[in-house]
């Protein structure tokens, strides 16, 4: 028995990587987790793949330039599979920090899988590059984290709410229905929207309900919303929720004057395949960098990245999460370029130094003092159907708009 115990410890110890380089290291180790299976796989895999494309691209060019050593250093991406399990993710984060001794730690992409990394990274004073984990609790009293590739959840719905309060009210929108999935990401946005609408005081919320995140049929919910006769409907759910909601809405024949939902703008290809152009026409959504050409000062443009993605033949749909992974890579690139050393404090300083100075295909990179992302905003857009495709125009704020919103009669 004792022997077995020791053997299994020996197995664990074999993961240990001893050498910690001094001076210019032979390679820079980037630790990351992804979920190849389970509920978070559909979000996690595109982010992982986007990051991987950046690593491969960088290594093909001889590595990432690090000013502190004045040379290019090859990257080594160590990405373990947590299978959407938080318990597994926790040990793997610890594995990356304590055994693999990675130089850079990048969290998995959903808030649930990011959450377990937060205390571990903080405990080991390891800076956590958090691609898309928007959980508000992560940033409280924690200097060791920054949100890299999407904004904090209170920023997300700001323009949608502003548009309703402003243009919507002018067009005669008086009542709003909110239907949201009860999880951290969409629940927080629902609270934010509720707050914005109540603060403006121009619109009445006539329906405000949460449903479990695994809800897959909205027919009766849509009927119930219709019974309240709202002018505007905001559906805040995950990608599966949006697919089911928009399909059921189409099947029901029900129309609303203004309809907003999250994922048509984030995973446009996936929604298009599942809902079809006619189901998306007229829908308001977030315009992510997947549908808006920001002028990058660093890295590929949207089209260049899309070409690289298609060439990589990932089997995954191209969408915002793909860009989030690549953007994370670009932020790492610029961080390495500017850092004084590979020390975690230096990395932290280098990331914050980028705030307001970096523009990627994901938009301007701006951090608040807690490490929350506030630059890569999500303007409001609206779809129009064009044959078998859809077109997404930014309709708000006016400074970014390249189209005019159409509110139904």
């Amino acid at each position: 028995m004792l022997r077995r115990t020791l053997l299994s410890f020996a197995a664990m110890l074999s993961f240990a990587v001893q050498a910690q380089a001094q001076q210019a290291p032979a390679e820079i180790k980037i630790g990351h987790l992804h979920a190849s299976s389970g509920p978070f796989a559909s979000i996690s895999m595109p982010v992982y793949t986007g990051l991987k494309i950046w690593v491969d691209e960088t290594n093909a060019a001889g590595g990432a330039y690090v000013k502190a050593f004045d040379k290019k250093i090859p990257l080594k991406l160590i990405s373990y599979d947590d299978q959407s399990s938080t318990a597994t993710a926790a040990t793997l984060y610890n594995q990356l920090i304590t055994q693999d001794k990675v130089d850079i730690l990048v969290a998995d992409s959903d808030s649930v899988l990011t959450s377990v990394a937060v205390p571990i990274a903080k405990e080991h004073k390891q800076f956590l590059f958090n691609p898309t984990g928007t959980g508000a609790a992560f940033f409280i009293d924690n200097p060791w984290i920054a949100l890299i590739a999407d904004p904090v959840s209170t920023i997300w719905p700001k323009y949608a709410a502003d548009y309703l309060n402003d243009e919507g009210a002018k067009a005669g929108i008086k009542t709003v229905a909110i239907l949201y999935s009860t999880n951290d990401f969409t629940g927080t946005q629902a609270s934010a929207v509720r707050g914005f609408i109540k603060a403006a005081g121009k619109l009445d919320i006539v329906y405000d309900q949460g449903v479990p995140t695994n809800t897959s049929n909205y027919t009766v919910l849509i009927n119930n919303i219709a019974a309240k006769n709202p002018d505007a409907v905001l559906h805040l759910g995950y990608v599966g929720n949006d697919i089911a909601f928009l399909r059921n809405l189409q099947d029901s024949g029900q129309k609303f004057r203004f309809l907003f939902s999250i994922y048509p703008g984030i995973e446009t290809e996936e929604l298009l395949k599942n809902v079809g152009p006619e189901g998306m026409a007229g829908v308001f959504t977030y315009v992510t960098s997947a549908a808006y050409e920001y002028k990058p000062e660093v890295g590929w443009t949207l089209e260049q990245f899309r070409t690289a993605w298609n060439k990589a033949n990932t089997g995954l749909n191209f969408g915002f999460n793909s860009i989030a992974g690549y953007t994370t890579g670009l932020v790492l690139q610029e961080t390495l370029k500017g850092t004084k050393s590979l020390d975690q404090t230096a990395l932290r300083d280098a990331v914050f130094a980028l705030s307001g100075k970096l523009k990627t295909l994901d938009g301007p990179f701006v951090l608040d003092e807690h490490g929350g992302q506030i630059g890569e905003i999500t303007p409001l857009g609206q779809f129009t159907a064009e044959g078998k495709e859809v077109k997404l125009d930014v309709v708000y704020p006016p400074s970014l708009a390249n189209g005019k919103g159409v509110i139904g009669k």
Partner: protein
């Protein structure tokens, strides 16, 4: 809203009858708990998706193909697994664990083969626009789902009560030991019931891309919870009782969505516990209480 919820629930519940039907047949005949039921359903969904995407095959034809293939696949699975399982002292309990393992295998293989993206089939394939039913506007997919479910229930009834093999199947359901003693080839009867059971899951799966918006390899677990609630509320071990369970579940879910939407997931769990605790003798084919 109340009437709408009840009528929608009725139609939706008929589809969930189909979801639970095969699980109940397998439990009734073999007294094993097929925790991979939801994963067989998922395989049916992907079969329909690929048949439609590659060959434009209509879901009704896909359902026929799934029926044939799944029965054929079910037989070797039965012979490979169940006879060994049934000799164990606590086969009911062990079956939960074994089929959980099988569900993991199926989910893993599906994720490797199909990827993790959401898949669906356009709704217009089953007719465009809503259908009026008792003054309610319902998606035409629901009418399809409910009709296929009704046909499936009728076929299972005819099989059990109008065919020789069905009579033998009912004998095995009443008592496996006595069926064995009277010389019935219990394994043959059970293997066919197992094949039919997973084929019914597969057929339910064919319509899942319409009823559930979209499908992924990980969908099995949620389906299992609903299927168990349906068959426990109906009569566990009595396939035809599944109809009652499906309708109670469907109407219950729609009422929850209407009046207490964020608590809707509590419903199947509470229904299941409440029925098991308070109405077991009335609803089961045999006593489930012990001293």
């Amino acid at each position: 809203m109340l009437i709408g919820a009840i009528i929608s629930g009725l139609m939706f519940g008929l589809y969930f009858t189909l979801v639970g039907l095969g699980l109940n047949l397998v439990f009734g005949v073999m007294r094993i708990v097929n925790l991979a039921h939801g994963d067989f359903l998922m395989l049916g969904s992907f079969a329909a998706y690929w048949l439609f995407t590659l060959f434009g095959l209509h879901p009704l034809l896909a359902a026929v193909a799934v029926l044939v293939v799944f029965v054929a696949v079910g037989l070797p699975i039965y012979y490979g697994v169940v006879p060994r399982l049934l000799v164990a002292r606590d086969s009911e309990m062990l079956s939960i664990i074994l089929f959980f393992g099988l569900s993991q295998v199926i989910e893993a293989l599906a994720a490797i083969a199909f990827g993790t993206s959401e898949r669906s089939i356009p709704g217009r394939v089953l007719g465009s626009g809503p259908v009026s039913f008792l003054g309610q506007r319902l998606p035409s997919a629901w009418v399809f789902g409910a009709a296929v479910s009704a046909v499936a229930v009728a076929c299972v009834y005819l099989y059990l009560y109008r065919t020789r093999l069905g009579t033998l199947t009912r004998a095995v359901m009443v008592s496996r030991e006595e069926a064995l003693a009277t010389g019935i080839d219990v394994h043959r009867v059970s293997a066919i019931a197992f094949g039919i059971g997973i084929a019914l899951a597969g057929i339910a799966g064919v319509f899942a891309p319409f009823m559930l918006g979209s499908v992924t390899p990980a969908m099995g677990a949620d389906i299992n919870v609903a299927a168990f609630a349906v068959i426990v509320v109906g009569t566990l071990g009595n396939p035809l009782g599944t109809v009652i369970g499906g309708i109670v579940y469907g109407i219950g879910l729609m009422l929850m969505q209407t009046y207490l939407s964020s608590w809707a997931n509590l419903l199947p769990n509470l229904l299941l516990i409440a029925v098991l605790l308070f109405r077991p003798e009335g609803l089961f084919g045999r006593a489930v209480r012990r001293a």
